[in-house]
């Protein structure tokens, strides 16, 4: 149905990096975004959140559907994403995915903003009122 995200390799690579960098005694971070520089930093300001949502719906939506139910690209609903590694998704947004139609978006958002989008998409709160 859709191009399956090839995320395993990226996830392993990130985990590997984290394992090297993370101090002993902090294994919980290995599975979370906090283990790498894609750490969920401060949420974007409300105005920027609105811009990111608009970008998501209108421009990501060109391939993933305005309602994020998929198209040329896979669906971005919480149901489709909740069990996918957040770090690799953030990396996919920023760098794209060669061999597919997914382009890099790093000129349009920061790493923190991409991580915020991923977190909101994964837990289904992308349309929740602007907040922290």
């Amino acid at each position: 149905m859709c191009v399956r995200p090839r995320i395993r390799i990226a996830a392993v690579a990130l985990l590997g990096t984290a394992a090297v960098l993370a101090p002993v005694g902090a294994p919980a971070q290995l599975t979370g975004a906090g283990a790498t520089t894609t750490a969920a930093g401060p949420a974007p300001a409300p105005a920027r959140q609105r811009e990111l949502r608009a970008l998501l719906r209108q421009d990501c939506g060109a391939c993933h559907g305005m309602r994020l139910t998929g198209g040329l690209g896979p669906p971005l609903t919480a149901e489709a994403l909740y069990d996918k590694p957040a770090d690799s998704m953030t990396e996919t947004i920023l760098s794209g995915r060669p061999g597919t139609a997914m382009p890099p978006w790093r000129h349009f958002m920061t790493e923190t903003e991409a991580a915020w989008l991923v977190a909101r998409l994964r837990n289904g709160t992308i349309d929740a009122p602007d907040s922290r």
């Binding site: 149905m1 421009d59 060109a62 559907g65 305005m66 309602r67 139910t69 040329l72 382009p103």
Partner: protein
Amino acid sequence: MHPIPAESDRAASHGLPTTGHAGKGPGVPAGCRRAFAVFAMLAALALAGCAAPLPLRGTGDLGVVIEREDGRLQVVDTSAHATLGTVDGLGDLSHASVVYSRDGRYAYVFGRDGGLTKVDLLERRIDRRTLQAGNSIGGAISQDGRVVAAQNYAPGGIKLFDARTLALLADIPSAAGPDGQRSKVVGLTDAPDGRFVASLFDAGEIWLIDARNPRMPQVTRFRGIGRQPYDGLVTPDGRYYVAGLFGEDGVALVDLWHPERGATRILDGYGKGEARLPVYKMPHLRGWAIADGYAFLPAVGRHEVLIVDTRTWREVGRVAVAGQPVFVIARPDARQVWVNFALPDNGKVQVIDTETRRVTATLAPGRAVLHLEFTPRGEEVWISVRDDNRVVVYDTATLARIATLAANAPSGIFFTSRATRIGF
């Protein structure tokens, strides 16, 4: 010979208009007239419920503007530069596209959510609606106007419907792509002799579908045409089908006069091995630009429009433009080609002179130009400007803005003149 009955003047009998309908109701039914005669009081109430009879008019200067976030379309009058009304309830209209019945009265609207809706432009209401797939990207109407074809992403394939009733006539599953899933279908178009042509994004194939018997369509497959065909077009004479490739620099071509010769590759390596730019929006080929024997095609991932001689199908030049082209569309007389662009250059529109092959004007209609549509003979072009919530109308000779219509995040614009054109 053909199993589908001819279309009657009025497809269905109408009762009293219901409040749920957008736009105007049908003509005054007999029941209302009786009410007038017998009870003055009830007559007044009935009058409130029964809209005045619709004035007689043709549809040749009508069209629709998609308001995709609202699942709604506007019915517009291109002579009056006015919105006549709206029709709601069309579902997810991201990437919605429209084809017309050959009488120009009905718009068939293909929604992302698989919705196929037949909209009556005159009465401005939904005539029929069906949810025919999980994820859809567009469709086409047959040469004789009797069959509507939908191209679907999920489940991947093509479905044929009776244009009058929207009853399913045939389901044509697509071939599997490398991941084993049914391929997404793109670039569906009608073609002469009762055929349709489409491309399979994942499988890298072109399918020629003989739908003269739409309950038993015959499929001819062209395999190995190139990686990831993303859209297709048929030339205005209906002879050639052209599929743009996303997965490599090149274009696949089928001569529909001679399908036995197979698909050929043209424009191989037009990117000359240079790394392409990130593509933030797939170009569209539909809404072709064939002008003076030359095809003007968007170069994927490049700020260029490619010019191809349609007699030899060799590149004869390219035009540097302001961004990555999305739509490259010839004015109906082919004197100009108009181009809009992907993010981040989507606030501009450029005009190419087809004789000198140079950009002669750069316009700034507003924020996020999504689509453009020429009036039937091309004296005007209507441009949707999503983030400014308006449709801007330009005089194509003077390039002056001559009208603005309010619309909520407008995307596609489709005029009924498409009803009479091959490939639309």
